[in-house]
Amino acid sequence: MAISSSSQASPFLYCGKIAQSDSLAVLHLKRDLLIPVVLHSRDDLDEGYDEGKVTNTRFGSFPHSTLIGAPWGSQVRASAVDTGSRGRKGWEGSGRKGRKRKRDEQFHNERGTEKEANTDAQNGGILSKADVIRNQDTVATPKAAVEAASGFVHILPPTPEIWTASLPHRTQVVYTPDYSYILHRIRARPGTVLIEAGAGSGSFTHAAARAVYNGSSTAEQGESEFKGLDEDPYGKVYSFEFHEQRAQKLKDELQEHGLDNVVELTHRDVCQDGFIPFQTTPSDMNTNAIFLDLPAPWLALKHLTRGGPSSPLDPRTSIHLCTFSPCIEQVQRTITTLRQLGWLEIEMVEIAAKRIEVRRERVGLQEEGLRGANDSPASVDEAVARLREVEGRLRVFHEESAFDGKGLSPATAGAQVSKQQRLENIRNALEGRKLYKEGRLVHKPEPELKTHTSYLVFAVLPREWTEEDELGAQRLWPGTVDVPEQDTGPMSKRQRKKEAKIKAGGNKASEIEREGSSSKLEAI
């Protein structure tokens, strides 16, 4: 049942119906609080939970046995897990999440055990047989999880958007609005070969992998339709990262996510060493699209030229490029270099994205003392009524003082309601109110706003076109030919008129409108 990363599709590309063991899942706690978790049916680290592998969150503990096999998107209840007594059972190392309170006392102990764990790992890089058996023994009969009284999460399959929102930040992340637009503009479609330099935390990498994947790599024996007719290359991402640690981390992640057959990651400084991964022939790369998230993209451009045996570019297509730089000076140097190298269609844009929050705004005296509402008068009428009331009370007060302290006059006391009474009444009225339907529906941008991410520079390098190519094309498509009278079969009167019109007037400025159904279908 286990998904081995290379043979089966990645959960990013096809997640199946239910959450499976050894594959990445995301626990959705809140919209901006997502926890990526690799589900394990066995607790290989032996963290000492009775229920086997457990993930602890703010909203409760979730043994993986309750998550594996759950249909994607289902709401999963928390379980009552004993997180406190594990230390006494010879539990060692990692997974300290649920024990914040004890951390200080245990700090020294833990350092000790961690050391132990390390030596353990060094002694036997592979677990001894006995160990494995012991593990299986302990894991084979994990205690059935018991539902907790409260707490739940939703279990979701990973998508590049969720991953972007939840990934461990190592560098500045390329966020969804930016990478969406970039991938759209550099024409990252299924089958595209894309170079990404400056992989960073990998958010763009995941989105790019989804965009270029064309099903081919897992469907070799499948329907011919998707494979194209002549050895079509598979969509591929060649990714580069010059920071060794980050590169290794991302490499592990890609493997874990089953994307290692779509993404080839190389630890490399592309400005110096170019874009050809080890053991790859440049002519096999055939790159169509390039994304550079580098501090000095202009230094890398010299490796992205046409001609020569060491060019990674596809000689047959136009090349689309995007650079991602936060500063305008970087943009200017990049553009200068792009012009010198003959890139066309140079364009610079920035993307401003925001999220909009929607809420109901309740205003009025009936909200007095309630949370989440404004208790000032909602209208002039209300204000006047309130003022009248205050006025009345004052008058009563003065009359009373005129009465000279002989107690409240019974008439006026009944007409007045004390503040406490009023609040009480409001609270009682709340019972019957449907707050979600009251008030005015309003919207505004959410408080956290990204006002600048980076400038995006786009450019296109057209296919090389020589004199010979031009001559060849002229032979193929002679410029001066008489238009042969074509027998196009029976035509409606309207069509004939149209044809005549076209012949007389040439192909008009904008395209000729032809009615969809009656038009001659063009051969494709």
Binding site: L13, K17, P71, S180, R360
Partner: protein, 588 residues
């Protein structure tokens, strides 16, 4: 597959031309035709077919022997395109040195002077506004235009020459003036492939933005990301297989009222928009191509005429019978509100929804049904089974009647399989761009989604999305969970739609701001296209747990705090609705 389409310009392709005025126009490159680009002249389609994209061509007039005016094209190299931008030092265009020399020569005054007396920039302080500074008259220019056979460069040079105050212009002004004249008179155009990106831009900027619901490119790309639409591995285990034919993964449910732009975009992301190039259509094989091309054309036309009367499977192996096989993975199911869907923009990708070519991947991967067929198939004529006729009776019929019968049955079978498959649900995502009330659409479509499917609703204006969002508000959901109405009574006034089925509803918007990035003259563009901003509503379909469920969060502590507070007794009296509201708030 898709790559091949954009290697070289193919005959019969639709392409976009960018004119010197920066206007985009779309032309259909029929071989052997002349294409007119308004005041910039005209050219032979054959002069650009078979050439690469993104080249800039210059129109050159030629007169040939037969005295008919013929044009030729010249490819403008990049160096020439950038010739005017030679000051590449990425500093201000007027260097102090040159500034001073100019001053020495003609005594022009400068305003902005650095501390050490060096000139920083020339200004327009001394220039007198005079409409007569251009000595050439309109008539003269027109006359010259008529005479000129070149690319218009000589004309522009002449115009610049005749400007009396040219030397007074600042470098910026001069550049602007030159650019303006260039845009007006230079006979150049650039050929851009008409893919979804270009089409969206053209529709939005030039054609009819209303027709595509003012869908901007940046919003379109957001839809693509949030809907998670992508190519799915073909051999996915079927999600469900009761009664209905196998249903695979990678199925997206779409409501598109943008004339097919959205469908085209989704199809492009799934790799089913561009028909694969057939090997015999390779541009490199000269004559084969031409003949084949004609042959295909004739055949298609023939087919067209046949389509309405009889559609017997032809002997041609290239055209299997229509109802052959519908794809089970990587499919788009389109629901439309009228008798016929409006997919007119798909013609630019050579797909005609009324008469699909079997060579086009969309023929198998695009499934179309109407709202009536989805909601009440029994009321739809297309969904009622045509009478079954016995073999003997059939033999007695005339061939026309017989084939008509078979055609009807095939249409019914196709329709039935589409309707059954759609009603069975299990879709991986729902994408909506419709003028209809989104609440009513979601009411019928959300139950058809699998758990964790993504929902994206586009609207050019925000109001409808706000109302939709309010249907899924925390308060409403809490009230629903605590006091669920009878499912038979849904939709109720309070709950127009089950609010527990979608998770994390969010409204996004994005706006792309373009910059002019010229050496020393970098700034955002002064004008842009107004109109709708465009918003999308995103959410995830979830499967709520059975029975009562309680959230955990800040809730407990707050309750304790409240109890400790002075208002102790009254706090406890606070209704469950408001307490739970907070409690679930922490879970959104």
């Amino acid at each position: 597959m898709a790559k091949n389409n954009f290697e070289l310009i193919r005959p019969n392709a639709y392409v976009a031309l960018r004119l010197p005025s920066d206007a985009l126009i779309v032309v259909h490159l029929l071989p052997n035709t002349t294409i007119s680009i308004g005041k910039y002249g005209n050219f032979q389609a054959n002069h650009v077919i078979g050439r690469p994209f993104y080249l800039t061509f210059e129109v050159i007039d030629k007169t040939n022997i037969s005295n008919t005016s013929q044009t030729a094209l010249r490819v403008v190299p990049a160096t020439e395109l950038y010739a005017d931008l030679r000051d590449e030092d990425a500093t201000t265009p007027i260097e102090t040195e040159t500034g001073r020399t100019v001053k020495d020569q003609d005594g022009v005054e400068y305003d902005i002077v650095g501390e050490d007396g060096e000139v920083v920039m020339r200004t327009n302080r001394t220039i007198i506004d005079d409409p007569n500074s251009q000595i050439m008259t309109m008539d003269e220019i027109e006359e010259m235009k008529a005479q000129s056979i070149g690319s218009g460069k000589d004309l522009i040079a002449k115009i610049l020459e005749s400007h009396s105050a040219l030397d007074q212009k600042t470098a910026f002004a001069l550049a602007k003036y030159t650019l303006r004249k260039t845009k007006k008179y230079l006979k150049r155009f650039t050929i851009i492939p008409l893919d979804v990106s270009t089409l969206a831009r053209w529709m939005f900027v030039e054609k009819e933005p209303m027709k595509t619901m003012e869908l901007r490119e940046e919003i379109l790309s957001l839809i693509g990301s949030w809907s998670n639409v992508h190519c799915t591995p073909l051999h996915t285990p079927p999600l469900m297989s009761e009664n209905i034919a196998k249903i695979g993964g990678g199925r997206w449910l779409v409501v598109d009222e943008t004339a097919g732009l959205l469908v085209a975009y989704i199809a492009e992301k799934m790799g089913i928009l561009h028909a694969p190039e057939r090997p015999d259509q390779k541009l490199e094989n000269a004559l084969v191509l031409d003949q084949e091309h004609e042959a295909v054309k004739g055949e298609v036309v023939q087919d067209n005429t046949e389509a309405n009367s009889s559609k017997i499977p032809t002997q041609n192996p290239l055209r299997p019978r229509k109802s052959s096989t519908l794809a089970t993975t990587n499919t788009i199911t389109l629901i439309h509100a009228n008798a016929q869907p409006n997919l007119s923009l798909l013609k630019y990708f050579h797909f005609d929804a009324f008469n699909p070519s079997s060579l086009h991947p969309l023929e198998r991967h695009l499934k179309i049904l109407s709202w009536l067929q989805l909601v009440a198939p029994e009321d739809d004529a297309c969904c009622t089974e045509p009478e079954h006729v016995s073999e003997e009776v059939l033999q007695g019929w005339k061939s026309g009647k017989r084939s008509n019968h078979f055609r009807k049955r095939r249409r019914w079978e196709r329709m039935k399989s589409i309707v059954d498959e759609t009603r069975a649900g299990g879709f991986d995502g729902l994408i909506i761009a419709s003028v209809m009330n989104p609440v009513s659409i979601l009411r019928h479509t959300v139950p058809l989604l699998r758990g964790a499917a993504q929902v994206v609703v586009y609207s050019p204006t925000i109001e409808s999305l706000i109302e939709l969002s309010d249907c899924y508000s925390t308060g409403r959901r809490t009230a629903f969970v605590q006091n669920p109405p009878d499912p038979g009574l849904m939709p109720t006034e309070d709950f127009p739609i089950n609010p527990t089925l979608l998770l994390a509803p969010t409204i996004h918007t994005a706006r792309c701001r373009s910059w002019q990035a010229l050496p020393g003259r970098t700034h955002p563009l002064m004008t842009g296209r107004g109109g709708s901003e465009g918003y999308i509503f995103t959410a995830t379909r979830v499967l709520p747990a059975e029975g009562k469920i309680e959230a955990r969060g800040k809730f407990k502590r707050r309750k304790v705090d409240a109890r400790r507070s002075t208002r102790a007794s009254s706090s406890l009296a606070e209704t469950p609705a408001s307490v739970a509201g907070e409690l679930i708030e922490s879970d959104v």
